[in-house]
């Protein structure tokens, strides 16, 4: 090689790098196409394995929303006795507003309560038939977010002892149970999600391993003509990347179909709860994150398989 050729070689380094990658890219696609059944099977299995964590995530965000919807009812509903007047109700409200555990107190008049009831399906005619309003004054008491649950419970107990109060409705214990349940469900989903991601890595790894094993001769020849370990490995890494990306796309499609299938029943469920549930679909971010993660998992699986099996193919 003369000095001019050497200079050209040095200048050509990025171009060589790019050509090597382009070659590996082409080879990786060829490989997937050469084994359509194996590729389809791998993508299907890995896609379903990834669809599950994504569906879990969908369920989880909806459980969280459900929890929030119920949390809105965390308020203490304080029903006063029938004989309590507006002035007495307002006086009680004022003293309660001074309580450090209380964020806000709203007064609900018997008339307001009646029209609320009337708005609920089917109650209208029955209420119209009543000779006079049977509803008492109600204080809707919203505790501070920072208030300890024990303080709220103590307040409820104190109110129950108040002679003006007929009934105290406390949603807090229900809320606590709900939180415990969603927390447990979230942990189960995280563990299952991690296991399924691991399964996806293994699926791609197995696919790449069998690809490598069926190409020992080719790998050998590449090594004999001076291919570096990185050069030999690259097409398999790309193949893993593609398998991961395709699987991610399958998972996204599966979850979108799932959402489509569940849309109608979810809407009916929501309607039966007076539209308070607000079921949510996944937005673009988790779907994109899944695609990226899937591609990375595929690459990782290929990397693990090739590290072990290419070393074994090197002529000693």
């Amino acid at each position: 090689m003369n000095s001019r050729e050497q200079a050209a070689t040095r200048r050509g380094a990025p171009a060589r790098w790019w050509r090597a990658h382009r070659w590996a890219l082409g080879q990786s696609l060829l490989r997937l196409r050469e084994r359509p059944l194996g590729t389809a099977l791998t993508v299907a299995v890995m896609g379903l394995a990834l669809a599950l964590p994504l569906s879990f995530y969908l369920v989880q965000i909806n459980l969280d929303r459900l929890g929030q919807a119920l949390g809105a009812q965390q308020a203490l509903n304080v029903f006063l006795k029938q004989d309590q007047t507006q002035a007495q109700a307002e006086a009680l409200a004022r003293t309660l507003r001074a309580d450090p555990a209380v964020a806000a107190v709203t007064l609900k008049s018997p008339a307001a309560g009646l029209s609320e009831l009337a708005a609920l399906q089917g109650f209208g005619p029955a209420l119209a038939a009543l000779p006079n309003n049977p509803l008492p004054w109600v204080l809707v008491l919203r505790p501070r977010a920072t208030a300890a649950p024990a303080a709220v419970r103590a307040l409820a107990t104190r109110l129950r002892g108040n002679s003006a109060v007929a009934l105290v409705q406390d949603q807090a214990p229900l809320r606590a149970r709900m939180d415990a349940l969603t927390g447990f469900g979230r942990r189960v989903m995280q563990v299952l999600g991690a296991l399924l991601a691991l399964a996806a890595v293994l699926v791609v790894g197995a696919s790449v391993r069998s690809d490598i094993q069926s190409r020992v001769d080719e790998i050998h020849v590449l090594q004999l003509v001076g291919a570096s370990a990185a050069f030999v490995r690259r097409p398999y890494l790309y193949a893993g990347f593609w398998l991961g990306l395709l699987s991610g796309a399958v998972a996204v499609i599966v979850v979108l179909l799932l959402e489509l299938l569940l849309a109608a029943p979810a809407a009916r469920l929501d309607a039966s709860w007076g539209g308070r549930l607000h079921f949510a679909a996944l937005d673009a971010t988790p779907l994109l994150v899944l695609l990226v993660c899937a591609a990375m998992l595929g690459w990782l699986g290929a990397r693990m398989a090739s590290a072990r099996h290419l070393a074994a193919a090197e002529p000693n």
């Binding site: 050509g12 171009a15 060589r16 790098w17 050509r19 090597a20 070659w23 001769d217 080719e218 050998h220 020849v221 590449l222 090594q223 004999l224 003509v225 001076g226 291919a227 570096s228 370990a229 050069f231 002529p315 000693n316």
Partner: protein
């Protein structure tokens, strides 16, 4: 003073064996205490009976095997110290023709011949041009798109030769490259190797074809049971 230390480039051997022995597990020594050197642009034959150690000698140079004892030096570098990346670089400066051709049977002739150029990162058009030229040289012009499985053994061997020369390596190693060729073609291939020698390539050919050796008249290393029993300079090869 410095000038006295700097050797003339031509004096540094490209290939040097120093007391090299190779023992395969469970066998007697395939090579024993072998020492010789090849100068740049030198061409030599390695000959000897079957099992004499010819292939083993070439494999040690190509780092397909490691010596059990002694040192093999190529272009001034001791092969024993080479690891992964070094091995790949080393093989890129060597063209190897194998006894069993080592072709990819499901790739076209052209794709096979281009492989060393792909590894070297050469652009596709240039690769194709060089592969065509190499195939032309071994008498396979026009066969670029054939699959090796559709070729005769002799043609497959010539594809292997084209692949070995396509990257214009500094060292050319050939293990019985003419074993499946008719005498006329064998002479032509040897002429091709001599051409490479003429442009500076160091060439080492293992063969047991004495007729060919006598015709080509290059240095001859004679092996017998892994020992170097004769080293005949080109000038002394009887016609």
């Amino acid at each position: 003073m410095l000038c006295g230390l700097v050797q003339d480039q031509d004096d540094v051997p490209v290939i040097r064996f120093e007391q090299v022995s190779k023992r395969y597990p469970g066998n007697a020594n395939a090579l024993e205490a072998l020492s010789f050197a090849l100068a740049p642009a030198e061409m030599a034959f390695v000959t000897g009976h079957s099992g004499a150690g010819k292939s083993t000698l070439l494999k040690l140079i190509g780092l397909l095997e490691r010596p059990s004892h002694g040192a093999v030096t190529v272009a001034g570098r001791n092969l024993a110290q080479m690891r992964q990346r070094g091995i790949a670089q080393h093989r890129r400066m060597i063209g190897m023709v194998f006894q069993d051709h080592h072709l990819l049977l499901d790739r076209s002739v052209q794709a096979n011949v281009e492989l060393p150029l792909v590894v070297a990162g050469m652009p596709a058009e240039e690769r194709a041009k060089r592969a065509r030229a190499a195939l032309e040289k071994v008498g396979l012009g026009g066969m670029e798109q054939r699959l090796p499985v559709r070729l005769s053994t002799g043609e497959q061997q010539r594809v292997g030769i084209a692949r070995a020369i396509v990257a214009r390596p500094a060292v050319l190693l050939a293990d019985e490259p003419t074993g499946n060729l008719d005498p006329h073609l064998a002479v032509e291939i040897m002429g091709l190797f001599a051409e490479f020698q003429a442009i500076g390539t160091t060439v080492l050919v293992a063969t047991h074809d004495l007729v060919l050796i006598k015709r080509i008249r290059k240095r001859v290393l004679v092996l017998d049971h892994g020992r170097l029993v004769d080293d005949v300079p080109a000038t002394e090869v009887a016609a």
